[in-house]
């Protein structure tokens, strides 16, 4: 189920967060509201009737959605908050740029599950989030990426790497949002390109927009297999497109399938 939110009044959610199937990274923001969301939303994906008055003791949208499912790590990379654009990762691993400090690296290693390999790479193009778009099986890379980096990506993330452009744009990471079930690309992508990419990635693709016509999909939203977060400017049409291509309506986090949670009312708002 796609959710709309803002980070410090900015709709570019994909810049300040990174969502994968195994973990979620968020930037250190001024307001906790970024994370605030109804538990109901999470439960809604499990069962249809859930009270709207649900309250959460951890006021974080991400956390409310994902809290018991995957770890949510607040971090910075290289002292900046634009972590979504600096790092690239999937459930197997996380790649961070050379600007990441040792403390941040350690913090990440500590917070993330052990199955996730955190690797710092020396690469001239340090905005890895802009250069690499990946899901759990396949990745698209910037055409000018180093050979070693490509090998590291294939190694750490366990994916097949393809050097590609999207709609003539070399920053593949910012121009598409990819999950294991589907992907959205830059709206100016031609039909032939769409077919080619779809064949490469083996997932259905659609050309669309996010955040009221913004063409930079990767920066405007972040997605994993069962949920997506978009900027609050996203229109209903765009939201429906996102829902349909990523197949979010029927999505359920695999780890919660077995567990049925009852909603707890702690305090009234």
């Amino acid at each position: 189920m796609a959710t709309r939110l803002q980070f410090e009044n900015n709709c570019e959610v994909g810049v300040f967060s990174k969502l994968t199937n195994a973990y979620c990274l968020v930037a250190i923001g001024g307001s906790e509201n970024f994370y605030r969301f109804c538990f109901a939303h999470l439960s809604l994906s499990l069962c249809s009737f859930t009270s709207v008055l649900v309250f959460m003791f951890e006021n974080s949208a991400f956390e409310s959605e994902l809290a018991d499912v995957i770890p949510i790590v607040k971090t910075s990379l290289g002292g900046t908050r634009i972590i979504g654009r600096l790092c690239a990762g999937n459930k197997n691993g996380l790649l961070v740029p050379h600007t990441t400090t040792d403390q941040e690296l350690q913090h990440l290693r500590n917070s993330l599950p052990d199955s996730v390999v955190v690797q710092r790479i020396e690469e001239r193009l340090s905005a890895l989030g802009n250069c690499i778009a990946c899901n759990d099986h396949v990745a698209l890379a910037h055409t000018d990426l180093d050979k070693e980096t490509e090998e590291i990506i294939a190694d750490v993330l366990g994916v097949e790497v393809f050097r590609q452009t999207i709609a003539g744009n070399i920053l593949v990471g910012s121009n598409c949002a990819l999950s294991n079930r589907g992907g959205i690309v830059h709206p100016h992508t031609s039909v032939e390109d769409l077919d080619e990419l779809s064949t490469l990635l083996q997932v259905p693709l659609v050309a669309g927009t996010v955040n009221r016509g913004s063409e930079v999909i990767g920066a405007g939203m972040t997605v994993n297999d069962w949920t997506a977060f978009c900027g609050s400017d996203t229109t209903a049409t765009e939201l429906s497109v996102i829902d349909s291509i990523f197949k979010l309506r029927e999505a359920q986090p695999s780890s919660i399938v077995d567990e049925m949670r009852k909603s707890l009312i702690d305090t009234y708002v």
Partner: protein, 517 residues
Amino acid sequence: MSAMDQDTGMFKVQQTIGSVLCCKCGVPMPPNAANMCVNCLRSEVDITEGLQKSIQIFYCPECGCYLQPPKTWIKAQWESKELLTFCIKRLKNLNKVKLKNAEFVWTEPHSKRIKVKLTVQAEVLNGAVLEQSYPVEYTVRDNLCESCSRFQANPDQWVASVQLRQHVSHRRTFFYLEQLILRHDAASRAIRIQQVDQGIDFFFGNKSHANSFIEFLRKVVPIEYRQDQQLVSHDVKSSLYNYKYTYSVKICPICREDLICLPSKVASGLGNLGPLVVCTKVSDNITILDPRTLRCAFLDARQYFRSGFRSALTSRQLVKYFVFDVEAPVGEATVGGQKYALSYVQIARESDIGKMFYVQTHLGHILKSGDQALGYDIYSANVNDDEMEKYRLSVKNGLPEAILIKKCYDEQRERKKGKPRAFTTKKLPMEMDESRGARVDPEKMENEYEEFLRDLEENPELRFNISLYKNKDYQESETASMTDGEGAPTVPIEELLAELELSEEEEEGNDEEDMDE
């Protein structure tokens, strides 16, 4: 679908533009810079915001002009190009957007509204260019322009007047001037033209119009003028003074064919030109010819008015002579395009055939025995001229008894009497001056005008600056049959202009073939 690119040998994939959903309404559309369909974009952004949609303009119903503030009035027809340009210029903020198209929307003419549909283009959002049409409504308010309101208040109101005078006893110069003015449209801006005893008064609404008229006059006749003004009103607060200007213009009294006795100073200034001279041509210079030496001199207006001599004998005093014998020319000269030949002739006055004179004349080239000529009878004339008296006393042999001026065509004219001329002339719309008691004798005027027309016929150089029109009643066949001897000089038909007739079927253009003079 790949296509081979022959030029570069590169493999180029054909790109088909896909379609995305409009982010607002969800209708599939080709992607654009804003990623919204046109309707959503239009509803989102209004590029005509801040542009003027209704405005007031002022129109003068008398002269059909529109006001461009602060003071200019622009003449424009209903729904014309000038009106469209004017309407668009009045809009204030139109430089923020690009104007693509403008056209009138029909409104009822008496609704006092003009509607213009403008199509503008502007850039919105991230570089998407949006085009939008919108109507602008102009409310037309009636407001008399300054000149019309002044005219309404007092139709005879003039600001500048030119009083043209020539102190001679005939009106030949004014007839000629009238034709010149008509040809050059110099008096088109005159409010009123009034004919007075020895001249014409022109009234103008504007001082500059009067000035330009005087400049025109200065080029065609030698004039001297002075300007005076009279205070009409005075605005104390802004120190604006309203005047009425009057120009008093005097045309030099020397006319063609006049006999002049030059004062000694002028004669010596011109290189001892014989004091008795004949004036042959008056344009902006006066051309005088000494009939004894065939020498010619030019005096311009300033030179003339410095001395201000008058003619001794004018064309009214011309007397008819019979020419009995013309001797071979002793000298020839071409002066100012005109050929002259000096020869001795035997002549006698028509009134007194018995008395023969043996005189020298400059018309040796055209006179033949048996001709008639017009000339000044100095022998028996009572000339009231000081210079002439002085000269008569000073010269040893006495004055020449007669000076012939031109050949006379009266005999030939007898045959043509009563038949209409081949050409007609137009007239200026003049008022007659009734106030001073009708000293103007209509018959005298007729005779003078007839003489003027004869003058035109005889002198091609006079016709140079004048437009003559074909006489519709004239039948050509009559004169074509005149084969006996030499006919009276007429205006060749090539010089005549056909008048512009605007009939319902067709328009006759001016078939003007003016000869190169």
